[in-house]
Symmetry: C2
Subunit: 241 residues, 2 copies
DNA sequence: TCTTGTTTGTGTATTATTAACACAATTATA
DNA sequence: TATAATTGTGTTAATAATACACAAACAAGA
């Protein structure tokens, strides 16, 4: 059910289309800034959820592949393109949407905040540290939690966190990011050993600059892991190690 | 409804289109028999797929929670109740269904074939060894492959395979089952050690009977892992180990 | 230019996990 | 009572994960 329909129209159309179900996608857009894992939210435009934030989502169009819908939402609402996206789960409780029956498929997305910060000056959009988020509109808190859980599992196995960082980064930055996502502290030496063993990184032969301490070496992720629009089968091949 | 659409006229005229997508569930019903992982299929009733088999599925009803739909499908089509079910992925290519736009959410299910064999004498239903399946109607082969992959990951972490076995089983039966699902051979001593370490089993203090060799001890899975209709949060607690 | 603060870069010893591997005991059957 | 088939069990080696300390690099300020 479109969020923009007012209550009277909703009554009418839900009766007309009682036997219909709408399907949407919702995007959990993760970013990383100031050692915090953040998520991009928009102020809910529904009366029922006044004051609450919600995920970015939209109904799927009848002529649109479901996998294209989250890309379109990101582009339309934030201007972001070429982002990492992954389907997580489909939520379809009867009462999850106050204006009608809407089943939604959740995707999470990983973006480099700094390269996307000016993409939209829509001040209804805001990056929130995930640790600060207590409640969201609809069942979006549950969707967020499910996506965080999936993200935590995934980063231990596959080279995806680099989508949250600038092209060049130090091992310290990378470790801080892992700690922010996992919510734990990691031993520096063991972390470096484990990451290096995975063989995901390329040494740039450059050093950090303008840091008030001994600068660290800079790395980037190998190019084969950088294409963000891989098909599922291409991923299987690449990530087989 | 996209925010970019402004006028009421546009909203109204496109409204019908947005509800012009059907949503279904498809069930990959796994069973285990004769050392084969099998899947329950039905003859496709579509002309386009004449001669091909397909998964059991149905459209979701407007008054039905998405999680209830696969239970209903299983009950209606096979008589099975109280089965293990898990949502896997939602498939929504434009061309996946020849008669219109249908997005489908795939679930896999684990059942004990012997206790369900007479549930339906619908001879359009048939158990197929998964290793024999080359092609299926719709995109069901892709759905099946996705579910097998998920099943393989899951059985290494969580005590779910027992849903495929009778209540009492020997470690040999259990190992054969793991080998059938994973498609590999396992070392018997290491397998037994690993399973016992997980602490999922209870020794029944009974022995196999009517086997033409030294009989093995019988085990059952602990009761806390046996409830097949656990909520997601209950699972988290129980399986935290 | 010397001292201090801060962070990088590195290795080893310990423990836990996984993998490889062989033989005696039990039952049914001939 | 001999044979065939399978169960039940333990040790060693290899690999991975964890715990832990110190010297070197740079910036800033005395």
């Amino acid at each position: 059910m479109p969020q923009s329909l007012k209550t009277a129209e909703i009554e009418k159309s839900t009766h007309q289309d009682y036997f219909n179900i709408a399907i949407s996608v919702d995007c959990v857009i993760f970013g990383y800034e100031n050692k915090d894992l953040k998520v991009l939210l928009i102020r809910s435009d529904l009366e029922e959820f006044e004051g609450l934030w919600s995920l970015l989502g939209d109904l799927i169009r009848p002529d649109e592949d479901i996998e294209d819908a989250p890309y379109r939402v990101l582009k339309e609402r934030t201007g972001m393109t070429n982002v990492y996206l992954e389907q997580v789960y489909t939520f379809g409780s009867l009462d999850r949407h106050p204006s009608g029956r809407v089943i939604t498929t959740a995707y999470f997305s990983l973006v480099d905040i700094l390269h996307h910060q000016t993409a939209s000056n829509n001040n209804e959009l805001h990056w929130h540290p995930v640790s600060d988020i207590k409640d969201l509109a609809f069942d979006h808190k549950k969707i967020l939690d499910t996506c965080i859980e999936r993200l935590r599992e995934k980063i231990m196995e596959q080279p995806i966190v680099f989508n949250l960082l600038p092209d060049k980064f130090s091992l310290r930055q990378l470790q801080d990011l892992y700690e922010a996502i996992l919510g734990v502290e990691l031993d520096r030496r063991n972390f470096r050993k484990r990451i290096m063993l995975k063989n995901w990184l390329v040494d740039m032969n450059e050093m950090e600059e303008d840091v008030p301490h001994r600068p660290g070496k800079l790395y980037k992720v190998k190019n084969i892991y950088k294409n963000k629009t891989l098909t599922a089968t291409a991923k299987e091949i690449l990530f087989a190690d």
